[in-house]
């Protein structure tokens, strides 16, 4: 208010500039010679109350009140203060220096000034209001503009098209909050045919978050093309991000590498929400720990594995879902999300979850944070591809009793009969299945009949895959041992120990996967141009 009051003072000063020395042509110079500095009066200064009730111009000299305001006025050389009152409120003052004629201000002068003040006060109030509103509008516009920029950056760095994976359904949902957060996701194919799946969240909101998100996403893509190991990718990106990221900002990120042909998933986590898989046995948490990216260089990220069978679906999400508040301010929370994943009757992983979220938050909800959902579902019967006659998808379980390895073998051979594989390859696979099943029965499940051995026979990505799964309790040899017959004959090795060696020699590939407390041996036969002893396999 002092700034405006000063303008008024200039006007009054100019009006009385009879004795001013400056040239009349230079009106502005003339007025500055009599200008006094602006005087700030604190709202709680007793002078405010005094002026409000003074009822007219006040002689500063004659003031008996002592306050910081009064002192400031005197120091500024103000002789006369005219309160500007509008609607009973003091909206400003007209501060006048000593009269240039060396005389005191007369009663007429004061009456004139009071009349002027009565006119000026409401005008001043209106002007202040208009200015305030204009400032607010400008700031609103700036925020809107920022939001637009942030949204634009964000959306330009999200994949426009999701990769098409035969045998898989990939879906993503992204809904930014009004004040855009730093959520992102990405899916891209790797040089070896696997697929990287990423979800992340940058702390903070708006343009800064969007910029960091764009940087993180580019670094993840670049590193992902060079290194396959998810833990190593996160390690690299963290080290690259650390020097450049603004203080107090960091990025949570989950990085998965999925082999679409087998359902084998490797993943590492930098402080992001854990994903959940919907499986035939309910929900399964894909656990992994690690520091968010951009906090400390030199971090290591533990790497885990999981296996997605046909029919399994995986949900990645951002905390915008779990931290959404309901009408009673309670949070949606992870348990509700897990329940949804576990219950196949609760609908599609994304749509069903959004329906539940909407029911929980109610219709009047203003979304607090970005919501991002990415799902990967391995479709049933995913073997129908690559020109195969037909896909195979057979699953069964057997009690862990010695002798059942024969049953496992026979059922697998029955299942693959439609493929019309060469007899020798079929026999080899039979031996491998039998050996793997025997290991599962005797070692993995420790011969406890009540624990089933699970067997899956699927064709996918040009491969025939037989999975034999146990609970992995016994000692497991993940490396193929190399038994030596001479040592055995000399009594230096036990006569036994041929199982894994045989399996390795009977199939094109053996993959051993320990994940989620289960031990899976995958026996793989290449279906196209398989090495069937040079003879025509199929």
């Amino acid at each position: 208010m002092t700034a405006i009051a000063q303008t008024w003072r200039k006007v009054t000063g100019k009006g009385q500039a009879a004795e001013a020395v400056a040239a009349p042509a230079e009106a502005t110079v003339e007025t500055t010679t009599i200008e006094t500095p602006a005087v700030e009066i604190a709202p709680n200064d007793p002078l405010v109350a005094f002026l409000q009730s003074a009822g007219g111009a006040v002689d500063v000299e004659a003031l008996e009140l002592e306050s910081p305001g009064v002192t400031a006025l005197r120091e500024a050389g103000v002789a006369l203060v005219v309160p500007l009152i509008s609607g009973g409120e003091l909206v400003g003052t007209l501060n006048l220096g000593p009269r240039l004629s060396d005389q005191q201000y007369s009663t007429d002068d004061k009456r004139l000034l009071d009349g002027l003040a009565a006119q000026a006060a409401p005008a001043l109030q209106v002007a202040e209001l208009v200015q305030k509103q204009a400032a607010e509008a400008r700031s609103r516009e700036r925020i809107e503009q920022e939001l637009k920029v942030a949204t634009l950056i964000q959306q330009n760095f999200l994949p426009r098209v999701l990769p098409d994976l035969p045998g898989w359904e990939v879906a993503a949902y992204y809904q930014p909050a009004r004040e855009v957060g730093g959520d992102f996701y990405d899916l891209f194919e790797l040089p070896d045919g696997q697929v990287a799946v990423i979800i992340g969240d940058v702390t903070d909101k708006g343009v800064p978050a969007a910029m960091v998100m764009a940087a993180a996403r580019s670094l993840l893509r670049a590193s992902g093309q060079r290194v396959i190991s998810p833990g190593e990718v996160l390690e690299r990106v963290n080290d690259l991000l650390c020097p450049d990221i603004p203080e107090k900002m960091f990025v949570t990120c989950l990085y998965l590498v999925v082999d679409p042909s087998t359902g084998y998933v490797r993943y590492a986590n930098a402080g992001h929400n854990l994903p959940y898989a919907r499986t035939a046995d309910g929900s399964m948490e894909l656990r992994a720990k690690g520091m968010p990216l951009g906090l400390l260089p030199g971090m290591k990220y533990e790497e885990h594995e999981a296996m997605m069978s046909p029919g399994d679906g995986l949900l990645l999400y951002s905390d915008g879902v779990t931290e959404a508040h309901g009408a009673e301010r309670e949070m949606f929370g992870t348990p509700r999300l897990v329940d949804h994943v576990a219950d196949p009757t609760s609908g599609d992983l994304i749509d069903g979850l959004l329906t539940q979220l909407q029911r929980f938050t109610g219709n009047d909800w203003e979304q607090e944070d970005d919501i991002t959902l990415v799902t990967l579902t391995r479709t049933l019967g995913s073997g129908v591809q690559n020109g195969l006659v037909s896909g195979i998808d057979v699953r069964f379980t057997l009690p862990s009793e010695t002798g059942n390895e024969r049953e496992a073998m026979q059922r697998v051979l029955d299942a693959i009969a439609p493929l019309g594989l060469e007899e020798r390859r079929v026999e080899r696979l039979g031996t491998a299945v039998s050996e793997a099943a025997m290991n599962a029965i005797e070692h993995g499940n420790q011969g406890r009949a009540e624990i089933p051995v699970e067997v899956e026979v699927v064709t996918a990505g040009g491969e025939l895959i037989v999975r034999i799964r146990d609970v992995g309790d016994g000692p497991q040899a993940t490396e193929v041992e190399s038994p030596d017959i001479e040592a055995k004959l000399a009594g230096l090795q036990k006569p036994r120990g041929w199982g894994l060696f045989l399996i390795k020699n009977m199939v094109d590939e053996i993959r051993v996967i320990d994940a989620d407390g289960r031990h899976t041996v995958e026996l793989v036969l290449q279906l196209e141009g398989g090495d069937g002893d040079g003879s025509n396999g199929a």
Binding site: T402, E405, R424, T431, M438, I485, P495, W498
Partner: protein
Amino acid sequence: MAAMALEAHVHTEDDGPVLELVGDVDGRAEEALGAAYTEAGEASAVMLDFQGVTYMNSTGIALIVGLLARARTNGQTLSVRGLTPHYREIFEITRLSDFMTIVDEEEGST
């Protein structure tokens, strides 16, 4: 391909005793195999006839390794005949074939 506990019959041919194996060479075959081998006695050459073998697994391989060890101790040679191509391959990759003679069908059957 029903599971069938091994039966081992011993008879003697011109070249010596023959252990005729019928059924599955797996963990349950230990006793029958051991008994038949003992029955074959101390002849310098013993023949295992796999013609009637329906199945063999790694435990069965271990049993053959055991027989081979016994034969070496006794200074006997051990031969095998009647192997299907699949089991012949297994004898080869385990290198059992380096320590026992594999007799082909044509020349083996008398």
